[in-house]
Symmetry: D3
Subunit: 132 residues, 6 copies
């Protein structure tokens, strides 16, 4: 299995309602360093998994609504705990859409899997990996 | 598949008996940076894999007997080569016990897999990954 | 010159009023990985710059009011742009106080300089360095 | 599953023919930080996956023809787009040969999988993972 | 003293003529991860050292002629050994010009020092630091 | 000021006698990732600070007596607390000797300063910087 992974980041505010979140129940924030890996069993005719430039662009587009935002104020996140795990899946869904729509360019038709990793500090990260 | 990963570290002394270990046969030591990932197919009702705070606590408890220790002097490691690989599995077993006993709190009943990575330098690391 | 440096982190929300801040004018957030270095010309009688355990504790105490907080809502930051640079100096002042009060333990009486570095992502960081 | 991973690096020049590569069509270069992981279901009699020293040596041998080279001038790469993905597989093949020939020493007969990761910058990397 | 540091990278080919360079005498290449720090004794009226967005833009502009290039073919580097150290100074000069011309925006008039660090691998880096 | 920095590492055992060291009073160990920077005001005729290959060799030679060792058993460290800070200075002294003796090759006659950084974990490091 081949993979290509690209990195970007977002800086956002949110609160996590629920006793399990302890001090994170209050409004606070995070920088998430986001690594997205795209997987293919074989390389495309160009000898790539996916065009790295387009992968970077698709990631930036997926992150745009979250960057410099307060998630508590965004309609799409009402009633949702925007945990790191949840955000991994949210970004995965955006990139899976991009892959299926051809926005990732030549090679994207053969993508089989995407993994989204969010690093929230030097001590903790979360990820979601799913088939296309 | 979702995952959450937390980091801690230990500083210990040991020796590795056996010709294959070359200079590591003598008493020396290591800092191991320990990353433990917990995996679930779906998120818990709280929208998490496992409570990150409890995961950090469980990891710290698992590492305590090893930290600032000379493994050669510990009864539980007599007659054992405490290689990085072996220590990965040793820590995995402690955390699998913690997960099964409920010590990881809400969400831990749905954990399916744990991975323990030990980085011994910027050039080498080892890991063990197993089902629960 | 000798130095010892310890690391911790904070996760907070804030907004940065002023056109120069572009999209950071809205409420957003950040994880700051905080590295604090303590400097001495010569080592203490114990052969150290400062007790690493106490340095970690003093750093944690300095960061506590900022961690999991919304800086916009804290009285001490009203009317202030809590830029990364500003926060470096703010944390420096807390640690300089700790050093002067003896809270850093044996060795702290000989400290000559402190440097506080805040990493806000893999692409940007800021620091403040000052004499004691 | 157990794994051991070792790191080395190469510095090379190449060009990538094909419109999809944009500015990388011209002669340029890269430092690739190379991480190779070796996998075994169980540990060897020595309690290891593979001898780390021999793993480092085998990796260095696999990388030697690529290091400080202009890939465009090497006969083995004529007519090939030496993408990061392609180089992952190329290095995988060399190390799979080493494993099968016993060059990795005791433990290598039980290896089941190898993964080769090439980091080309702090923002992008690629890998190939295959069974032995 | 305050500082703000931003990161970018370049991928280039070159050769280093002279026996001292050993295998680097042949045409090869490198990824340089470039960290540029800007220093001011006091913060600007906006509470910053320099606008991070403009700093990123100025760095990107300074790196553009080097990125995806073969330095051996560029007129400005004829007869010059484009060592990592030399490139640090070359980039410093471009950014010093940007600072002096006001291209870094509000705050840049108070800049006192710039440091340019080039990381060529996980094992080696070089830097140049100079006054403005 | 120009600088070139190279990295290596050591894995050793030791104990730190004295109440201030808490749990580190017992025999334990550490991996130290060692970064050594060499400084010159101007570049040598070859356009370098110092030959990176020779710098790596000199560092390896300086570290050899410490690597895979139990410092408590080495005659040169009897009665000494081998703190991270102390080891920085110890390695500095070896490399200053190497620089003065010409072992670092062309360029070393112009070296003005050396800095030795020892990272003992992802959370703590120490350094010593001195003139030649």
């Amino acid at each position: 299995m081949f993979a290509v992974e690209v990195r970007d980041h977002i800086m956002l505010a949110h609160s996590l309602p629920g006793e399990v979140f302890g001090p994170a129940q209050g409004l606070h924030g995070a920088t998430y360093v986001v690594d997205v890996a795209f997987f293919r069993e074989t390389l495309s005719d160009d000898g790539i998994v996916v065009d790295i430039g387009r992968a970077h662009d698709a990631l930036k587009a997926a992150l745009k609504p979250l960057n410099y935002a307060n998630l508590d104020a965004l309609p799409q996140f009402q009633g949702v705990a925007t945990t790191t795990e949840f955000l991994c899946k949210h970004i995965f869904d955006r990139l899976a859409d991009a892959a299926r729509s051809g926005a990732l360019g030549p090679g994207s038709e053969g993508l089989q899997k995407i993994r989204v990793v969010l690093g929230e500090s030097h001590l903790a990260r979360a990820w979601y990996e799913g088939a296309l």
